[in-house]
Symmetry: C2
Subunit: 405 residues, 2 copies
């Protein structure tokens, strides 16, 4: 019997009525003869509501107790969904992250899954039950409750799929698949049928909100197929798998992503010597702030300028840290900007086609869009620009690279 | 260093502001040089809100998943209280029932505590922390979340006091102590300074809402002193301890309790033979319905009438069960009434004073109050009457036994 893992996000289960619709979808898969494990988020808005309660006590709240609080959101939905399945005549059981044996490290609020004891879920599946697991949460080996950070339910679903050797990990959301770019910005955006996890990783980490990058990374690493589907419409969605010839042969560029949730920090006039990057980024990493783009180039007098981007939420803390460490190597100046957007073009076809970058830059230049940062990888080109340029930039690129055709 | 256990109910921690006031009370005790363990309920109304959500799915909802849902209420308050204590500069940690090692049996929704692994709490106390524990909940030895039923947080607090050999278990509530009867019914009701756990047990199980009877029973059994205090006013409250000479010498009757949360069931014309009581009550007990008063007397033709009371919520189910089992011993009739009230007079002094019962019955008769059931114990006399008689009966008894003096 094949195991199917389904994940439903907060908008899919925001009310008891919606939970009933979700239960029907689960039952279809169960009646197809599959073992079904369902991973759910908290009801939409609930995590923010709990977070705001804690912010009354401390506006900068974080750490262990926040996870104890926030994790109740999914605990409510697992029980309501399990009750609904039982009410519809199907045997079901709910499990918190802790009960499901999802062991994480002890970085509260942003924990990472270290292992899953799959025997708990497997035993319940073997006894014929539909197993409903709380996403986004786990437990340390010492029994402290942890959460995986925003979007972590996708990661939970993929990790469980890997641990159970599931046939497919279906991520149900409020869109019917992955698009060439955000349809709200470019009306010509098209749904993609197949995409490689490598491309999806670049797309999602660059700001496509459909799937959490850590989930895609996990799936790619362990070769689990993820299918992104709509909770509210029928359709085959978008399949994300390790390899996909169709995509490779069809298009040079598979999509354009953007991310407004970043801020840029520059430290000017640092000595251009080995180890300087780790001196700058070390203190940032110690604060558990993710660094995304990193650019270093030489300025005047053998001194280098060092620029990087961080999540916009962490901007203040990162700037503070940078100002402190700047003293240690007598840097000239620290400057920052949190009104930026990163725009990325992604495609495995890029590997074998020259000139993509220069075409991108000339299209942007023709439209008077100034670039403040550039970073490239084998299958991606990212630029940073003022956030006011977002709509124009995405639309002119989408058209110039024939993504609307 | 002495250990003080404090318990705060839902009305004491209904908002973040109230939680801050509670934190100040805890800090006073900590600054007195004590180790402090705090047991909290869910915010007032929260348990009902969660329960109502589940009732949309199934109006008769019960069992495992309900406990997964309901237990999130206390998980929210423990984290908010721990965050508040930390914000005020005190080291604190929250523990769910499961994390605190509160092991229960597997009777979901009405579980009983079987043991507490006190090493978890003790280790945190030894490291100087204030430990905040979720009341009302525990975990089975298989890791399933359970709840203890309404009012179970009192039981949690007393059980933790016993497990830690605490100096005192302070139950903070919205009243400033235990009264001779409900002041809303009798304006002449007086606060009691000391009361024995035996008396308190009769008072609370008979309907005084201040303390859960199971908690009092537990405390009496293990000789832990409970002090009932107001969260919102200063005062010494009411001390409930195993023995109390002052009370024994002072009053014959310490208080009058009543309980409107009961229903009465009668099975008529059952054979008056050994074992009949267990045949009638066995199926009721199997459904985990508590039976309170039991009266059996012989009717015509050697056939007996058997009457008992159950919680009003369980009335329908108990009646159904009784109708089924009535067939097995060809009983004549099953009748029931859920519009009753039980009124009880309690006092250890009763043991040594004759005539209390007859005085009670004559006072009620003078006021035209009809009695449908009588039950007596060494320190208690209970009667059942129509619920419309409640106010009159309590007031005339309170006056007749000089409780207002």
């Amino acid at each position: 019997m094949a195991i199917i893992v389904q994940k439903y996000g907060g908008t899919s289960i925001g009310t008891v009525d919606k939970i009933s619709l979700v239960a029907d979808k689960i039952i279809v898969e169960k009646n197809n003869g599959n073992d079904v494990v369902v991973v759910v988020s908290a009801m939409s808005g609930e995590t923010d509501k709990l977070h705001n309660l804690a912010k009354i006590i401390n506006p900068e709240v974080k750490g262990r107790e926040l996870d104890v609080l926030i994790s109740t959101g999914e605990q409510v939905t697992i029980s309501l969904l399990a009750l609904t399945l039982v009410e519809k005549g199907y045997d079901a059981i709910s499990l918190t992250g802790s009960q499901a044996g999802i062991i994480t490290n002890n970085v509260f609020n942003k924990a990472r899954i270290e292992s899953i004891n799959n025997s708990v879920i497997k035993n319940y599946l073997n006894s014929g039950k539909i197993v409903v697991v709380a996403g986004f949460q786990g437990v340390t080996e010492h029994g402290d409750i942890t959460t995986l950070g925003r979007g972590g339910s996708d990661t939970s679903a993929v990790a469980i799929s890997v641990a159970l050797d599931a046939k497919e990990c279906q991520i149900f959301t409020d869109v019917d698949g992955v698009y060439t770019t955000d349809p709200r910005i470019s009306p010509g955006a098209k749904k993609i049928d197949h995409i490689t996890s490598e491309e999806m990783l670049e797309l999602s980490s660059q700001g496509s909100k459909v799937l959490q990058p850590r989930a895609v990374e996990f799936a790619g690493k362990y070769d689990v197929g993820i299918r992104v589907l709509s909770t509210f419409e029928d359709g085959t969605g978008t399949l994300i798998s390790k390899d996909n010839k169709q995509v490779m042969e069809k298009a040079i560029i598979s999509g354009i992503a953007f991310n407004k949730d970043e801020a840029q920090l520059t430290i000017r006039g640092v000595p251009d010597q080995p180890g300087i990057a780790s001196l700058i980024l070390g203190p940032i990493a110690e604060r558990n702030i993710d660094v995304d783009m990193i650019v270093q180039n030489v300025g005047e007098d053998g001194l280098a300028n060092f620029t990087f981007t961080v999540p916009r939420n962490d901007y203040k803390e990162a700037k503070k840290s940078l100002l402190e460490s700047a003293k240690n190597f007598s840097a000239k100046k620290v400057i920052g900007n949190d009104k930026i957007v990163k725009i990325s073009m992604v495609g495995v076809g890029m590997r074998t086609h020259a000139g993509i970058a220069s075409k991108m830059f000339s299209v942007l230049a023709e439209n008077n869009i100034n670039i403040s940062m550039i970073s490239t990888s084998e299958i991606k080109i990212s630029i940073v620009t003022d956030e006011n340029n977002l709509d124009t930039a995405v639309n002119v690129l989408h058209k110039a690279f024939d993504l609307d055709k």
